[in-house]
């Protein structure tokens, strides 16, 4: 398989608190693969994204390898080879119209047209481009962030919680667009706590708990009572979904 990103023995150490926030993380992404990363809030999902992109604050120390096509990732890969759809809608420049922000980052002959196409695919009206970020709803801002990332030529897309706040229809448009990205041969690391999204997009699911990947499993193993899942926490995440045991699960514990 054509591996494009390899993470090997990655750890992140908090120098002041003197403990590991991520420990011994291994995985690889190949072209056309979607790997979902799930886990409770605070388990280190976004931190792993920052770590891959070399965006950690100074008080955190990173060890291990993050390889893009067999060489260490550096800051020049950001936006060119690896692109992030950030979790926070505050990532937009509040003083710049969103159309300008998107166009400025699209590397194509006709960035304006590419932008309009992407906006349309995500169900957004073209007049969104003339607005400032504060004039967008939460769901609209999230889709604008996605257009910025998907307009880039990067082969690896890290999507950090791309769907909260989106209604059903907008969510499926986002899923459809990410599927196109996958079919174009790019690799996606999908960070999410929405199992619905993970199950529709991912080939494999990695479960992160307190900075460690406790299980990587085939997406088809999330079915029935979760009898094909190995780790108790993975089972618990699956069983506690509203379409499964839900509050009956919480009563048991």
């Amino acid at each position: 398989m054509d591996t494009i990103l390899t993470v090997n023995q990655l750890s992140v150490f908090h120098q002041n608190a003197e403990h590991y926030l991520l420990e011994d993380i291994h995985f690889s992404l190949y072209r056309g693969q979607v790997l979902a990363l799930v886990g409770a809030s605070g388990s280190g999902k976004s931190l792993l994204a920052q770590s891959i992109l070399q965006l950690l604050p100074d008080n955190l120390r990173q060890n291990g390898d993050v390889l893009y096509s067999d060489r260490q990732v550096n800051e020049h890969d950001r936006g060119r080879n690896i692109v992030l759809i950030p979790q926070s809608v505050e990532a937009l420049d509040p003083l710049m119209k969103v159309g300008k922000q998107i166009e400025g980052l699209i590397q194509a002959e006709n960035p304006h047209q590419v932008m309009l196409d992407l906006l349309a695919q995500l169900g957004l009206n073209a007049d969104i481009a003339t607005r400032y970020p504060f004039q967008l709803s939460g769901g609209q801002a999230r889709r604008v962030l996605a257009t910025i990332a998907l307009g880039s030529p990067a082969n690896v897309v890290i999507a950090d919680e791309p769907t909260p706040g989106l209604d059903e229809e907008a969510k499926y448009e986002m899923i459809a667009l990410l599927k196109e990205v996958q079919q174009a041969g790019k690799a996606i690391l999908l960070i999410t706590h929405d199992f619905d999204v993970a199950l529709q997009l991912a080939d494999q699911v990695a479960v992160l708990d307190q900075g460690e990947i406790i299980e990587v499993t085939d997406v088809h193993h999330f079915s029935g009572d979760g009898e094909k899942l190995v780790h108790p926490l993975t089972k618990a995440l699956w069983q506690s979904l509203p379409q499964n045991l839900f509050i009956k699960y919480a009563e048991k514990t």
Binding site: N125, L241, P242
Partner: protein
């Protein structure tokens, strides 16, 4: 019974968000409300809980003039619904006398009360917000997307706590959510907010015109 009759809301720019909503919520009844984002579900929630004035139509229930308000709202973003400069003890005391038994039921350790909001995770803070709501002894609760930001285990735990409390105390509950499996699991009936909405210009989702130029 909470009665909402012919409620409408128009923004200052003359855009009508929703028009002529009527619904009733019985004590002990659990109703779901779904619908696309940006249609005014949160505005509707704010009107029936008294955060925004009703422009037309009526809201009636027993002891509506009482304080605290008998219809309480639990907000979507807990970090935006508490004073960041108050310790959580003060946050809770605003709602009424702190009830240790209730905190126990919600798995809130007493030592959290000396912390500030940013020292808890989103799910922990949402439990504080639920405690604050319940401390007012509400007759009705409006839960506006209260678990979207949480992982599935935290979601299941929070709903288990709320359902237990609501059933025991015969509270009417309106759950606003995009999550259909969740609504189907918890609610006796599910209303579609779209039916109350007049199509208006500037709606983000407009499939007929203006999308492709």
């Amino acid at each position: 019974m909470l009665e909402v009759a012919n409620l409408s809301y128009t923004l200052p720019n003359q855009t009508t968000l929703f028009d002529d909503i009527s619904l009733t919520l019985d004590e002990g009844e659990i109703i779901g409300l779904s619908g696309a984002s940006g249609l005014g579900k949160t505005t509707f929630a704010k009107v029936i809980t008294g955060y925004l004035p009703a422009q037309s139509g009526e809201i009636n229930c027993k002891s509506l003039k009482n304080k605290p308000h008998p219809v309480q709202l639990i907000w979507q973003h807990p970090e935006q619904s508490v004073n960041p400069k108050w310790r959580l003890q003060k946050v809770l005391e605003e709602a009424g006398d702190i009830n240790k038994h209730l905190l126990n039921q919600l798995n809130i350790p007493f030592e959290w009360l000396q912390r500030y909001p940013h020292q808890l995770s989103g799910g922990q803070l949402q439990r504080i917000c639920i405690a604050r709501c319940l401390l007012t002894n509400p007759s009705y609760i409006i839960a506006d997307e209260i678990t979207t930001m949480l992982d599935p285990i935290a979601q299941a735990e929070i709903w288990q706590l709320i359902m237990e409390y609501v059933q025991k105390n015969k509270i009417g509950l309106l759950i606003i959510s995009h999550d259909h499996p969740l609504l189907e699991n918890l609610c006796e009936k599910i209303l579609d907010f779209t039916q109350f909405v007049k199509p208006f210009e500037g709606l983000s989702r407009n499939n007929d015109e203006g999308v492709r130029t």
